[in-house]
């Protein structure tokens, strides 16, 4: 089933914003030509993957990915809140929201980033890798029905309002791949400093959860559940939180620079 949702574009953004002090209590009668440069990023949605009956990766010593990533998310939330971000978690306990439920949490927010947290089954213990979504090849003609055609972003109806555009739910990430890649680079830089042996640059991978996110989105995977003791993983929580908070703060700074310079805005 193809789900479509409408998202506000640049021309709507100022109208959707709460009135500012400069605008006065009633707001301006006409929208400003450029969006305000202040704080283009205020919300971080943290996604502890799996949960419920889906425990994710399971280590030989009984370490469960779903439990570790929830612990990570709680520590990262504190670090991000310390940077002034509002933080939402896709799950607060042992629930298992669907991919789309998790996407729904962020797709209605216009100034957020999404960070999905994972622990791998394999890989060098004590390292962390960052992934951003890469779209596989386009569907060839004649194979339609297997998967939605990549790149078929729906255009707004000619008769519809000019300030609304329709985004194909299944391809929501497509408009954000560059910004996601930038966020991934910043995160990987920080993680490489905290966790020796981690790669210096992020990877592209079609991680399912990221595909339906209409915002900059990355997945961070820590290695691995193969540790003999869960303590080894939980000790990674604090440096992981510091790295993520720093990376998101750097990303916010880069957005501010971009917004001020070119008017780029979510």
């Amino acid at each position: 089933m193809l789900l479509i949702f409408a998202t506000a574009t640049l021309s709507l953004w100022p109208q959707a914003s709460p009135p500012t002090a400069q605008q006065g209590p009633t707001g301006p009668s006409t929208a400003p030509s450029t969006p305000p440069a202040a704080s283009p990023l205020t919300v971080v949605v943290l996604d502890p993957a799996h949960g419920g009956s889906d425990s994710g990766a399971r280590g030989p010593s009984g370490v469960l990915e779903s439990e570790i990533v929830l612990d990570f998310a709680r520590v990262i939330r504190i670090a991000l809140e310390g940077q002034g971000f509002r933080v939402l978690l896709t799950r607060e306990g042992n629930q298992d929201p669907s991919f789309d439920d998790r996407s729904t949490m962020i797709n209605g927010i216009s100034d957020a980033v999404f960070i999905s947290l994972h622990v791998s089954s394999t890989g060098p213990v004590g390292t962390a890798r960052v992934y951003s979504y890469v779209f596989p090849a386009a569907v060839p003609s004649g194979s339609a029905g297997l998967t939605p055609a990549v790149g078929s972003q729906l255009s707004p109806s000619a008769s519809g309002p000019r300030h609304l555009s329709l985004v194909e739910w299944d391809l929501a990430q497509k408009a954000f791949v560059d910004r996601s890649r930038r966020l991934a680079e910043l995160a990987q830089i920080q993680l490489a400093q905290k966790f020796q042996g981690s790669p210096d640059s992020p990877m592209g991978a079609p991680v399912r959860q990221l595909r339906t996110i209409a915002a900059p989105a990355i997945a961070i995977e820590v290695s691995s559940v193969a540790v003999p003791d869960a303590q080894k993983l939980t000790q990674m929580g604090q440096p992981l939180a510091e790295a993520v908070a720093r990376a998101v703060a750097d990303f916010r700074t880069s957005l501010r620079g971009g917004a001020a310079g070119s008017g780029v805005q979510r």
Partner: protein, 232 residues
Amino acid sequence: MSRAWKIGIAVLAVFVLIGVLSIPALIRSVLRLRRASATEEQARHSIIQAPISTPTDTQVTAQLFWVSTTVPATLEPVAVALPLSADPVQRAKQLIAALITQAPTPAQSALPADATLLQFYLLPGGTAIADFSDALGTKTPSGILSERLAVDSIVRTLGAGVSDVHQLKILIHGQQTETLAGHLDLTGFFPVAPPEPADSPVVPTSPSPAGPPKPVPAPSQTAPPSGKQPLP
């Protein structure tokens, strides 16, 4: 002691004796069953994944991509001499079967040993559809890295060995699945391309006294039928 008690004790003694005598046979049966406890997937594996042989088979030095023993969490090509068909569909089946069953060590295989390729289709234009058994989804270790390695090993092996394949769709038991093992998106097509120059150096399957791996020449149609090919 009454006669009834004596009879009861005698009957119990007979049962105990029968039990003691039957224990070794029971143990043997349990051990036999354990040895024969091949899963349904394994049984299917042995039937379906029989060696694929075609009249056009010729010995070719193929590149199969397995998990590197030197660089963690990466794949590296290994030169393997295989009888490969001229028919691209059969050739792809032979390569994937070898990829699953001929890994130098179990740890180097990015694909679960129980997985089987149920069917392989090649559409005009180079779109391939590989239909794997359930084990590909259920036995691949959960995780972005491990799932990525699994798909990459298939894609890169096909890219190096079957020039007719340009993109690949992976099905599990005939069905499109959302993810491989909870992470990697299987709803799209994976681009399949010939290996880049960086993929060319092929490591031998066992430590070679001849020094570091050297680039392998272009795949030869006349490679000796010596299985995994050590480099000079």
